[in-house]
């Protein structure tokens, strides 16, 4: 094939190439092959006396309909319609070199995270042996700093912002370890549950390159978080299968591999998977459909039906909520779930689109969740004097309040949007503006609760 000295003709060929490349069933090599054909044809047509653009028209016409062609290609290479996640080399704008460097950085960080969780054992704090509270409290501290390093590296952030971000982790390490927790108490469990939520905000700052308040970075971080949870769950499933096989095979030759699974595979895998999962989410952004919004679409109607049926049953039978120890936490989790559904629906929604049926469904979900939670809260406050204020109960009540405020305002914004008085952009802004509230409350629980409740 030839390169033409006819500039407009070369431009036309380039346009055609760009157009053909958009077809998913056609890979770059196929496009190159077809372009070669086009050029051969053009040479012959121009030799026969046609002008450049005439020759181009004829050659493209002879090539035939691109739709039919890509259909045929898809039939031959059906696997191409399944998007493949190829981590290296990455996007076309980055060279194979940076992709290789990233692979190296990620693998080193994953190994570092896996080793970090084994490091305390060198100082006599072995996993097991009653050291579980220490490990559970510090779980996020083994891996979140490394994840932050990954984002700082990836976003090419400066040393200074890196040092700033070291502060929250250092503070977290101090508050997780200086308090004289009682092993039988609840406050260390609260620290273990809340420290990751507080520190996740620091990871988010690294993710958005420190520009928390600018642009769409925060929503991207929300999307990233949702996808990471899904990837992590999938990796954990695979890890479970790996562990199961390890146990089974070593048992077959009479060796108990429990120490291998519990001391190495599970803790090291759990840490490394956070880094690997984040890397996969970063790499696949544009390759694979985001799963969190899909799950949101799937489960919003189901949860709405569940809540409505629950309310109807309660009204019909007159059964009160049986206030037991964990009821408040259960309803907290319900609100977390509903907030998650609202958040991920907002993350996938085009703010400019007019309200549709699904938005009405979301409002119904939020309102029914508010009603259910209101009923539960009424039942709990009626008997709170009986229980007294334990750290668990105060934390759960505080969280309930925070989520209620979010949902109540969201419901109001939904009503406005559905009546076309406001835009969905406002709802999205409300949701992302609220994100730091969760982390600040979590930080409060970590810092204030243990001393306030005497490390119970």
């Amino acid at each position: 094939m030839t390169t033409f000295f006819d500039r407009p003709l070369e431009e036309q060929i380039a346009q055609w190439r760009a157009y053909v490349r958009r077809r998913q069933a056609l890979h770059d090599l196929d496009v190159e092959e077809l372009e070669g054909h086009l050029r051969d044809q053009l040479v012959e047509l121009t030799k026969a006396g046609l002008a450049g653009d005439e020759a181009f028209l004829v050659a493209v016409k002879r090539m035939g309909s691109l739709d039919a062609l890509s259909r045929e290609f898809a039939r031959v290479h059906s696997e191409r319609l399944w998007k493949q996640l190829v981590v290296a080399p990455g996007a076309p704008d980055e060279s194979a070199n940076t992709a290789r460097a990233e692979t190296l950085v990620v693998l080193s960080l994953a190994v570092a995270a896996a080793l970090a969780i084994k490091a305390p054992a060198l100082f006599g704090l072995r996993l097991g042996d009653g050291n579980e509270p220490f490990y559970v409290r510090n779980a996020s501290l083994f891996v979140f700093p490394l994840l932050t390093v990954y984002f700082l590296w990836k976003r090419r952030a400066g040393i200074v912002s890196g040092l700033w971000l070291a502060l929250p982790f250092a503070a977290g390490a101090v508050f997780a370890n200086v308090f004289p927790f009682r092993a039988s108490g609840d406050t260390w469990v609260l620290t273990a549950l809340h420290l990751p939520i507080a520190l996740w905000l620091a990871v988010g700052f690294a993710y958005v390159r420190g520009r928390w308040f600018a642009g769409a970075g925060r929503m991207d971080f929300v999307r990233f978080s949702g996808e990471l949870v899904i990837y992590y769950a999938l990796i954990a499933l695979g890890g479970g299968v790996l562990t199961g096989f390890a146990m089974m095979m070593f048992k077959a030759i009479g060796i108990n591999a429990e120490w291998l699974a519990q001391g190495w595979l599970i803790p090291c895998g759990a840490m490394g998977a956070v880094i690997i999962g984040s890397w996969l989410v970063e790499a696949k952004q544009s390759v694979i459909e985001n799963m969190a919004p899909v799950l949101t679409r799937l489960f919003t109607p189901l949860f709405t039906v569940l809540l409505l049926v629950f309310l109807a049953t309660m009204a019909w039978t007159g059964r009160p909520i049986n206030v037991k120890r964990d009821v408040l936490i259960g309803f907290d989790l319900l609100l977390v779930l509903v907030v998650g559904l609202v958040l991920y629906a907002a993350s996938a929604r085009d703010p400019q689109a007019p309200p549709d049926f699904f938005d009405g469904l979301q409002l119904l979900l939020v309102v029914s969740a508010l009603v259910v939670d209101g009923v539960a809260l009424a039942a709990i406050t009626a008997r709170i004097s009986e229980f007294g204020f334990t750290p668990n109960r105060v934390a759960a009540l505080g969280e309930n309040l925070i989520l209620l405020v979010n949902l109540a305002w969201s419901a109001w914004l939904y009503v406005r949007c559905l009546r076309q008085r406001g835009s969905f952009a406002v709802l999205e802004r409300w949701q992302i503006a609220y994100l730091p509230v969760y982390s600040i409350w979590a930080a409060l629980v970590v810092v204030v609760f243990p001393p306030a409740f005497g490390y119970r």
Binding site: D30, E33, L34, G36, S65, F73
Partner: protein, 116 residues
């Protein structure tokens, strides 16, 4: 000289495999040259939409009947050359027998129809 006739799509599709294999049995070739050879052999009656040859070639490559290799063309840009494999030759022989049966059968009945 015969007027150009419109061949039925099915017939074109069915003849594509033996034609491509037979042309490659003459010697290694590439897409554009194969199309030219088809036009030449059929006296211009078998007109393929050019693009459609490539899915056929890729299918044959997947089935192992032809093998492909990228190498430099006379103009410097690289080009994908196709070569018939041993399985391809066996397939060509089998197809040839089938087509001969079809051809022979049709010939027999057409003689009768014409003379009747």
């Amino acid at each position: 000289m015969l007027l150009r006739m419109d061949m039925s799509k099915d017939l074109v599709a069915a003849s594509a495999t033996p034609l491509v294999l037979a042309i490659l049995a003459e010697g290694d070739s590439y897409g554009y040259a194969i199309i030219k050879r088809v036009a030449e052999l059929s006296g211009g009656h078998l007109q393929w939409t050019d693009g459609m040859l490539y899915p056929v070639l890729h299918r044959l490559e997947r089935q192992g009947l032809v093998a492909a290799k990228w190498s430099a063309s006379e103009h410097g840009r690289r080009r994908k050359y196709y070569r018939i494999t041993r399985e391809g030759r066996a397939q060509l022989a089998a197809q040839r027998r089938q087509w001969q049966v079809v051809d022979g059968t049709l010939r027999g009945i057409w003689m009768k129809v014409c003379t009747a």
